[in-house]
Amino acid sequence: MSLLNRERNEEALAAAGEVLRSRSLTQLAIARFLRNRVAVGATAIVIVMILLATFAPIFELLTGYEMDYQDRNFYSGKAPNWDAKHYFGTDQNGRDIFVRTMFGMRISMLVALVAASVALVIGVGYGAISGLAGGLTDTIMMRILDLLISYPLTLIAVIALAYFGRNIFIVFVIIGLVEWQIMARVIRGQVISLRNSDFIEAARAAGVRPIGILVRHIVPNVTGVAIVYMTLIIPEVILVESFLGYLGLGVQEPNTSLGVLISEGANSIERKPWMTYGPGMFLVVLLLALNFVGDGLRDAFDPKDR
């Protein structure tokens, strides 16, 4: 009976040929992600926007307007004019809004990347320690996390930025400090399920110290989940950054960000609505695309959560 089965199996395998090659979990996840058309489209949009932001100086060359240049011929807040190459119009100082939007996107994305990395480091560290330690430490750390989630840390960020200056590195760190809690909670869940697995047990039996287990075995295994949740944090970070910029606490002139541009536009929305259109549109599209990418990645890598 069993012999027959084996023969049949081999026959079936031979018949299937290459179709039945084994695939790793990551490959399966990528295949699942590629099947999600919305997420793939959103990824394309995000990539285009990253390229636009990265090569923002090119638009200075193409339009002939530098980010800080005040166009005296076209002075003081004119509506979009394609002949003059002011695609989004100019602000009240005669600066080209299209070029400024590209540069603002650059800063927003930079902040998003660095601040999300800060959040990643804090969240993974906190979650891993809490999950590994277990017992009372875990309970206390999770209780603190529960309470922190209900507090508007963004307001603390407002205070901190007002007091410690508007240096861009401070913006990075402070936004990172605001957005790590969900990451910590997810990582803790992962770590707890890993903690009871056999290879951790083996490492422990072999006498690896806890710090070694953390660095060698836990962190590599949660990397995938951490990166997925990082893409979910990035839109939040962009939102916080634009919020701070809107309140006049973000980056400073001559640098600009999408939030700063929207805030400038909002002040004169009745007379010069085009000042808000460009940056607002880019911010909304960016956030929408990032949200779809994040959701798609989470669905692909974590199918039980669907």
Partner: protein
């Protein structure tokens, strides 16, 4: 109840820690409230620092801020220069925010303005009445615990209590309607979407939810102002006045009055701020309640109820509502945070005289007392709402009622 109280106690501890953190970091950070472009002379600076307890150690300052005493001996004669007492002559004018003036004539004023909570507790500071009889009204700091937030540091003739009294209603009157708007509309929308899963209605609800979460309120605010306040008014003017020549309407009310300005607004002033603040919340609540309702709809007891032949609305109300509302309730803590940060945006966008604007002004001016006052109020609002949510949670989720027994 015990669970909710326990949570309340924990939150209170966190509030005190958070207050101390804000208190000490703002004082340790570089710069101070008195070093502007034209700093006061050294002697006055010394007096100011003494009045605001800034010459003490940090824990003593915090103690003084909470209880108003600082462990200093309180001199009874109330002459100027003593840090904790100062005298305003009888009948002096005190200008409050909003232009009203008070006169420092009676005991009542003293009690009402400077130890607001003593009035309720029925205890007036010992010796205060005698002081008032001799010297006019005597002002003494009584600390945050007794409801005295102290004088603002940037505008030293205004009490933080006045800022709070004027600002808090302005914040709440937009925060509460938008919360109600989001809850009363979002939960039914989420339930309906779950009930008609994968139908066009579901798709519409999901799209609304997505846009609510993605379009930030700082984009929504200028956009709505432009669309509804500027363009729509222009359109109505064109339609009624220029085309239909309905002059009577133009004379009676020139605009839709959608921009909150001045005090003569009425209901129309609530529309735009509530929409801006509410849609962000609405999106999140729709998504959460839809997810919760989907899970409840798939459960066995709902299938049983269906098999029994109960009508749909009974199933939705009796079997789905309670478990499906739980994720929404869990989210109420972050909702408070969202409303508070959102109200900073709408106060700026619509120029509303709320607390959020004082909060930002205080942070940028290094107005320590005003910043602390607004922070205290915000934290109190948060723990109060969380307490209510915990109470609701115990009511809705029997698993939390530990040790058995009702509440």
């Amino acid at each position: 109840m015990a669970y909710a109280l326990q949570r309340f106690g924990q939150m209170l501890i966190i509030v005190i820690i958070a207050l101390f953190a804000v208190f000490s970091t703002q004082r340790l950070a570089p710069g101070g409230p008195f070093d502007g472009e034209r700093p006061p002379p050294p002697a006055i600076l010394e007096n100011l620092r003494a009045y605001y307890d800034m010459d003490l150690s940090m824990p003593a300052q915090f103690y003084a801020y909470l209880f108003g005493m600082a462990g200093r001996e309180i001199e009874a004669n109330g002459t100027a220069g003593k840090a904790h007492w100062f005298v305003v002559p009888k009948n002096a004018e005190i200008t409050t925010l909003g232009g009203t003036t008070d006169r420092s004539t009676d005991d009542d004023l003293f009690v009402r303005r400077f130890c607001p909570w003593d009035q309720w507790l029925g205890q007036v500071l010992p010796g205060a009445r005698a002081q008032m009889r001799e010297n006019g009204t005597v002002f003494r700091k009584c600390g945050v615990v007794r409801g005295d937030f102290g004088l603002s540091m940037a505008r030293r003739s205004i009490y933080v209590n006045d800022y709070v009294r004027d600002g808090l209603p302005a914040t709440l009157k937009y925060a509460i309607p938008s919360l109600l708007f989001a809850l009363l509309l979002g939960v039914p929308m989420g339930f309906y979407a779950a009930y008609r899963q994968n139908k066009p209605a579901d798709f519409i609800m999901i799209t609304i939810g997505m846009f609510g979460t993605v379009v930030p309120n700082l984009v929504m605010a200028p956009l709505l102002i432009f669309l509804f306040a500027v363009q729509l008014d222009a359109f109505f003017h064109w339609l009624f006045v220029e085309t239909l020549e309905w002059i009577e309407l133009a004379r009676r009310q020139r605009t839709l009055n959608l921009i909150p300005s001045g005090k003569t607004g009425g209901v129309m002033h609530y529309v735009l701020p509530t929409l801006v603040l509410g849609t962000g919340l609405l999106g999140r609540i729709v998504r959460l309640s839809r997810a919760g309702a989907l899970e409840a709809l798939r459960s066995n007891y709902v299938r049983t109820a269906r098999a029994k032949g109960l009508p749909a609305h009974v199933i939705l109300l009796r079997h789905v509502f309670k478990p499906a509302i739980l994720p929404v309730l869990t989210y109420m803590g972050p909702v408070t945070a969202f409303i508070l940060t959102g109200s900073l945006v709408i106060e700026r966008a619509f120029s509303l005289p709320g607390l959020g604007r004082q909060f930002i002004a205080a942070a940028t001016d290094r107005d320590y007392t005003l910043l602390m006052g607004t922070t205290v109020i915000l934290l109190l609002a948060i723990i109060l709402l969380n307490f209510i949510v915990d109470l609701l949670y115990t009511w809705l989720d029997p698993r939390i009622r530990r040790g058995g027994g009702r509440s």
